[in-house]
């Protein structure tokens, strides 16, 4: 049975994973796990390496050790975003915090981290709004 299918069927794709120690678990850092998740899911984009490091630094400020353990487990077991809120959230938060959408989803441009997406810190940066699509008017 494929490991991914097994995980889906057993429900180990959620919280139960964090209790399974492996060699990879001991040697893979949280930072490597987040980077690995991003590369696995959107590695076909040209992701700015230093930007990812800064993103991880900023994103991690609000997350505790339990969360970090969970992320490492999710990464090591290759959990897909559609099966994990945590993985989904990491990828979505990263993309919204870059210039990818501001560049109108141009997959050929290098993706640069701008800062965690927060309308209270940087208002009017909703990347799908008319401000970024001036040619689309009613």
């Amino acid at each position: 049975m494929l490991r991914r299918k097994f995980l889906k069927l057993t429900g180990l794709g959620t919280g139960a994973l964090v209790t399974i120690p492996t060699f990879g678990f001991a040697t893979t850092s949280y930072e490597e796990a987040v980077t690995g998740i991003l590369k696995k899911e959107i590695g076909y984009l040209d992701l700015d390496k230093k930007g990812i490091e800064k993103f991880i630094q900023d994103f991690s400020k609000d997350h505790d050790e339990k969360y970090r353990l969970k992320v490492r487990a999710m990464y090591l077991f290759g959990i897909e975003p559609e099966h994990s809120y945590t993985v989904n959230d990491i990828v979505r938060t990263y993309l919204l915090s870059t210039d990818f959408f501001l560049n109108q989803m141009n997959e050929r441009k290098t993706v640069h981290y701008i800062g965690l997406y927060n309308p209270y810190v940087r208002p009017c940066t909703q990347p799908f709004s008319n401000l970024y699509y001036p040619a689309v008017t009613s």
Partner: protein, 478 residues
């Protein structure tokens, strides 16, 4: 308090109370004495934004936690409200569609529940006044009749909205909204941040930024931290109101009283006062929302200028309302996207909002703690449940003009953030608590304001209508 006796005592400072006062003050003599009792405190918008940024502010602890202000017997059903000055204007999202004329005639047209004791035509001039006071942005071509244009231009459609507009004409419109399309009256233009509970750019109308001059009027005395428990009702007249401030009990007499808290606390105050109307507290409810995520092939959904860009009326009007509820569609423009290469924004979130009916099983009751009502909500009506089933059958056909890949439905929302119907309006005490002027059928100097007055629960957001009702009631009564 400056006086022992007032011409008018108003309880609360949210939309219902403020619009009622606005009209009252325009008609009252310069010598009028008005007292406003607000249980909460002023929490400025700028301080709320600081809190959202993660900064500390002394204001954040001033007001009571809504969750601990009531006993909610059904935690799966949320009731959203604020206890601060300005009430829910601080946390609303600013959607202001009018009701449809048919919404006031559910019994006559469809044999459902009851008609409202007033018509759309009677309320229409007050809708216009409310839209002017709130500087509403909206289109010219609406499915409901209008005697005046919206004060501000409409918000911009997304690419997907444009396709639906072309297909459905005035059944698909730019949403009328208090999220300003352009800077106006001290407010900034909305830029689609989609976190409207505290607008980062102060674009939505609130009582704080209203510039209505109500609380600056020299005739008005506003007391913060004054929580009302009950009224002294004698011989069909409201004599006094009792309240607690700084741990001490107070009372004050007046010629007239207006309850302008929300539908839960208005009912609690009446029940605490011995109001025996069988409908007082009964029929607590609101709309039911269901999110439809519509995946699109080769069409990116971009270009909107606000949070809810559009309203769709394609599942609203018709004889189907004899059997199941009307549905209002909201086109949502939050920054959601697909995690699929090349299809990132090929998706639209449609919030399907269904009307509901007042049911006796859903009600407000008193508890041993006079200030803390109990809220019992056992569920929505079969009328609404059937509409959800029918919507899922009909939506693919409605959206046939779009390149739809698939539609996914999320679990029904636990709240639409509205509280309706515990003091319903009617022609007589046989069918409700208050009359069309929002005056209690038995206590003729007591107004009971707000969305608790709603006879039925249309799919529309209630704020515009409850504010217009306050203007109407004060205009006709003073």
């Amino acid at each position: 308090m400056k006086h022992n006796y007032y011409d008018l005592v108003v309880v609360g400072s949210s939309f219902a109370a403020t619009f009622f006062l606005k009209k009252y003050l325009s008609k009252a003599p310069l010598t009028a004495k008005v007292l406003v009792l607000e249980r909460g405190y002023f929490y400025p918008h700028a301080e709320r934004v600081k809190e959202q940024r993660g900064e500390t502010t002394a204001f954040s602890k001033l007001n009571a936690d809504p969750l601990t202000s009531i006993v909610n017997k059904n935690p799966e059903k949320e009731w959203i409200f604020q206890t601060a000055f300005g009430g829910n204007s601080n946390c609303w999202y600013g959607c202001t569609p009018r009701f449809m004329p048919s919404d006031f005639r559910m019994k006559s047209l469809y044999g459902i529940a009851n008609d409202w004791p007033l018509s759309y035509d009677e309320l229409e001039p007050y809708y216009s006044q409310t839209e002017e006071l709130m500087s509403i942005s909206g289109p010219d071509d609406t499915p409901f009749p209008k005697s005046s244009p919206y004060p501000l231009p409409p918000h911009l459609f997304t690419t997907v909205d444009k396709v639906l507009k072309k297909e459905y004409g005035n059944l698909y419109i730019s949403q009328p909204t208090a999220r300003a399309r352009m800077a106006v009256n001290g407010r900034n233009a909305c830029c689609a941040n989609a976190v409207c509970h505290v607008c980062p750019v102060n674009a939505k109308f609130t009582i704080e930024n209203s510039n209505m001059g109500v609380y600056e009027d020299e005739r008005v005395e506003l007391i913060f931290g004054a929580q009302v428990s009950n009224l002294d009702l004698q011989q069909n007249v409201a004599k006094k109101v009792y309240f607690v401030k700084d741990g001490k009990e107070h009372q004050v007499a007046a010629e007239a009283f207006a309850l302008g808290t929300n539908a839960i606390f208005n009912a609690n105050i009446l029940l605490n006062s011995g109001d025996k109307n069988p409908y007082t507290g009964k029929g607590l409810g609101e709309q039911q929302g269901v999110q439809a995520m519509v995946y699109l092939d080769n069409l990116a959904n971009v270009g909107g200028s606000t949070w809810v860009n559009a309203n769709g009326y394609m599942l609203y009007e018709g004889d189907h309302r004899k059997e199941y509820a009307a549905c209002l569609i909201e086109s949502n423009n939050a920054p959601y996207f697909r995690l699929e290469r090349g299809k990132w924004r090929n998706i639209i979130a449609l919030r399907m909002v269904f009307e509901d009916l007042p049911l006796d099983q859903n009600y407000v009751a008193t508890t041993a703690d006079i200030m803390k009502p109990e809220v019992i909500f056992k569920g929505i009506s079969d009328y609404t449940k059937k509409a959800i089933v029918k919507m899922k059958e009909n939506l693919p056909g409605i959206l046939a003009c779009l390149p739809v890949e698939k539609i996914e439905y999320e679990e029904p929302y636990s709240t639409e953030s509205h509280i309706l119907g515990t003091t319903r309006m009617s022609n007589s005490a046989k069918d409700g608590v208050i009359d069309k002027h929002l005056i209690h059928h038995q206590y003729r100097n007591l107004f009971v304001l707000g969305s608790g007055s709603f006879t039925t629960y249309t799919p529309n957001n209630p704020t515009l209508t409850l504010s217009a009702l306050s203007l109407f009631a004060a205009d006709k009564s003073f």
